[in-house]
Amino acid sequence: MKKEEEKSYAGLFLFLSFILTITIAWAVWNEAVGKRLWKLYQSRFYELEKEKVRGEYGEAVTAFNQPGVQEKYKEAQRKLEEAWGRFNTPTVQQGYMKASRELSVLDKEELSPLKFEAMVTRNKMLEEEYQYGKHKSDEPVKKIMELEERGNVLAAEIEDLEKKRVGLQKNLDESMHDINMYASELKTFTNDMNGYQEYMVKLKSKRPSLQIYQVYLEDINEADRCMSCHVGINREESVSGEQPYANHPERKVYLGNHPPERFGCVLCHEGQGRATISPEKAHGEVEYWLAPMHRGKIAQSSCIKCHDKGEELIGGEDIAKGIELFEGLGCFGCHETKGFGEDRNSMIGPDLTEIGSKVNPGWLLEWLKNPKHFRPSTRMPDFRLEDEEAIAIASYLWQNSEGFEPGEPKEFDDETIDEGAYLYESVGCLACHSEIEEDGRVHGPNLSRIGDKANYEYLVSWLLAPKAHQPKTKMPDMKLDEEDAQYVASFLMSLKGEEGYDDLTGSEWLSNKETAKKGEDLIGRYGCFGCHKIMGMEGMSKIGVELDEVGSKSIHLFDFGLLEKEILEGVGLDNADENVSKARRAWITAKLRDPRQFDQGRYKRPKDKLKMPDFGLSPEEIEALSILLTGMKEGELPENYIAKLTDEKRYLVEGKKVIDKYNCMGCHQFTIDTLYLKNGSVVKGMVKLEEEESLYFQLWVDNEGLGRKAGDTVQIANEEIEKMVASQGGDINPYIIDYHVEVEGSIAEEAKVFTPPVLYEEGKKVQSAWLFDFLKEPATLRPWLDVRMPLFTMTENEATVLSRYFATLEKEEYPYEFIVETKDRYLKEKEKEKPGYLAMAQHLFEHKDVNCASCHVRGDITPEGDPSDWAPDLSVARNRLKPDWIVDWLIDPQLKQPGTKMPKFFREGVFQDIFPGTPEEQAVALKDLLMNLPDEMLKQKAVKSEDPLLD
């Protein structure tokens, strides 16, 4: 053993110092490089940027060197030289020099002295005026007059000279014209190349400094450094297809409206904006981070943090779909959720208090067991009831139903059914319903095989007054008389399937009290009353979990049952904490796909079992709903982030809700077709005819690009069209047109007259107060229509919202509007201008070549011929129509309503003996008459002496 002093530790020290060196080196490397990944990303980004410009420059050079382009370039060069040659000939030069000299002489020796004198004169005048103000003597007045006169003379002289000057300048410009033109033409060849070249030089000269880009969102104390890696996120052009180098997809929509300097990225995408060490950390995709990044569509879940749910957002289509589903499926029937189910005037499912008189019990039983089996498009979900459960529920409902005893089943002859079918097709049922198996029209229930389900007597009574049976139904009163209701009901009863249902009316269980008691418990458990009105269940509270803050609910509160591992593995997670947001969405997705799967393999008492029914959702629907649910988070952003709707927008959002509720677009067309042409112009109107290579398009708005006026039909080749946005609404029109073409033998264009009125620009047409009244209580305006405006029994608020919607859409005054035409003052003035004004207008109205009364009803007076050929009652115009619209209408009705039977009367130079003036003046006069129709024009003159009894 060596002595201590003789031992050498050199090896150990060497070893340790080696380790120390490595450690230091690693620490330095890690600090400088490893934790600074963003530096790599930034340098790479600038590299890519250079490469891109280089590539583009290369392309531009190649394009320029193409023989064809070179030829044209040389040609332009040659022309420029020629132009210079022409310009340099002595005569042109002399002329040019002379003109330019003259111009300078004119400017210096004539114009400036005059201008100076004018200024002096003006100053003197001001001084005299001031003097007058002080002394009020006559002398200054005289001087002022003189000065003014001098001023006028000078002004005239200056004007003359200016004119002369313009002429000279024009001469000069003309001689240089060719040169300038060819020079600029020449430039167009090299513009691209030069641009890229300049850009390249700029990139080279300035070395980009690598730095952290941070946005500090003060109000929510959030530092957002995402753009340190995603440097090019807000660049107009992407340098790469990959992140972190690429720009934001649909950048204009998303970043245009949310500049990252103000909003950062985390506001929508979440994640850990402060972190810069690694992408995983920055994206918050690490254990226990509560807000992992929202990628792709999921980012839309953040829209509702700031935006109103009703607002239509470009780029927010997926969450909008989720909102629509949540609303449409009635999720809020069981789950209390802020902002949903606030319309107290509507109901998710039908009222069941008359179920005993409405349906066949055999049908009810099968329906409860599997609603989608009978009606694939129904919103009613599948509760997966056992037979006894379904019997018990049916029994309770049956015993808690009031109404009349349904009569015996009836048979109907073909003629009755046909008449019913005719009414069904023509009065407007088809706007919401379809009797064809699942054809996609789902606003109202599909009616195929309805005869297997319903009772005839109930249908008749229902059709006559739906709201008397179910006060909250959306089904309007179609204003059928009893006979018509019977026809329609008999047609509906004739719609039967092949199998039908057993008649179980006499079954014991239907009236068994004990069975009903069991049913009551089940209804309580499944919460049927969340969507349906059920007797004895009024005021029960919702049975589901509140969903207000489900997007930030702790992942440990979601019960995966025994499936946790399986479900998490499915989305690539080992445990839920790894990415809580992903895990939450995985649970939501699993729940929506198979709501009761978490009970699998566990013992539960019946009342503790999961009860959520199966909605049969598609994967896309589940995704949309999970986006929405992800976005329902606790906490609110500070006020200045909230995208408050302006009043105008709010009116439109509210109006659209009511329009959707009552399906106004089922009948009425609301918008027109828009064509976006490849040359950039936008054409508005309606497609009239589509052919293989082109379409015929009727303009509804003047189009300067095409040089055509509203009303004209133009042919547009398909290859010129970039995109077409089709009109919205009028879903029923094809059925009506089809009927008139097939049965009545009209041509399609004529048949359009029988479709419900188009509501495009309705706000410009009708007075809001009238529209409110009409919505509350519609009256027949167009006697030729079979389809009719039903009585929706809207609330006053809904009618207000709708009439305000139309006014807002056209930027019209609402609610009050001053109509000057009806005021004495206005008429007196008109009389003063043109004595006998209204009387003359009346002559025009009654003249045999205008003859309004030939077609129009006015008050009591009806035209000759069949009532279905009469035109609207003119006595209504005063309170219904806006005066300006009447004038436009009279000038050319086809422009306001293409295809209308109302002809144009007033052409230049006609009816001068009756009402001299332009067509506009004649139209204005008729408008004034309509706004002031005297009573005697509305009453049948009592001249006929015949005994009315003889008629």
């Binding site: 040089g707 055509r708 070549d849 293409p898 039977k901």
Partner: protein
Amino acid sequence: MGKLIKSYGCFLAVAMFSLVLLVGNSRDVLAAYEGGDVSNGGTITGTVKLVGDVPDASTLKVDKDQATCGHDDLPSEALMVSGDSSLQNAVVSITNISKGKKFAGGTPAIDQKGCVFRPHVAMIPQGSSIELLNSDDVMHNLHSWSMKNTAFNEGVAAHGNISKTFEFPETVKVTCDVHKWMTSWLIVQANPYYAITDANGKYKLEGVPAGTYTVQAWQESLGNATQEVTVAAGGEAKADFELEKKEKKRRERKKH
């Protein structure tokens, strides 16, 4: 005022320019007809007949302005069939000819007389105008239900007239909405090879250059039928047409 003229002039310039463009474009799409001299042209003749039962002559009810229009019902011209099923007022035309004889003429005017359009079927060349007259003492309106040409609906004073130009070939229904029984048809033709059948259902297309063509027969209530016809130089080809009445949907309207 000067400004107005200027802006109007500008509009006009744009309009003219677009028209040129449009015509230029439509030529591509439609392959416009080229007229010239045809030597030794052939002829296509034949008759157009109705297949099936000859329906009873129907009438139109005159329920308005009877002082002018008369008190009696008017005979309907929607389907004019003679005893041997020959169809009058059917239009026979070649649909796919791009070169042939010169195209001129056409019906100069449609008149409204006694609340009836005369003639019931009229024809003009594409791009030309027609006078629309009113020889009655009452106001009529002229409503064109066209799809390709700009549609119009204008009141025409008693003894007044208007003139309209038709840009695209098309079969246009023209009605008077004031008197709903009044209907006429205006055929805007792209080429001169057309004929309207006489009371015996006969027609004749002359000066047809030798070749094979699609010939169409159209009648307002029956729709159309086509056949391929080959014409030899100087020869006469025969093409008879039979049109069938389409079955209406079973459902009839109930009179209330």
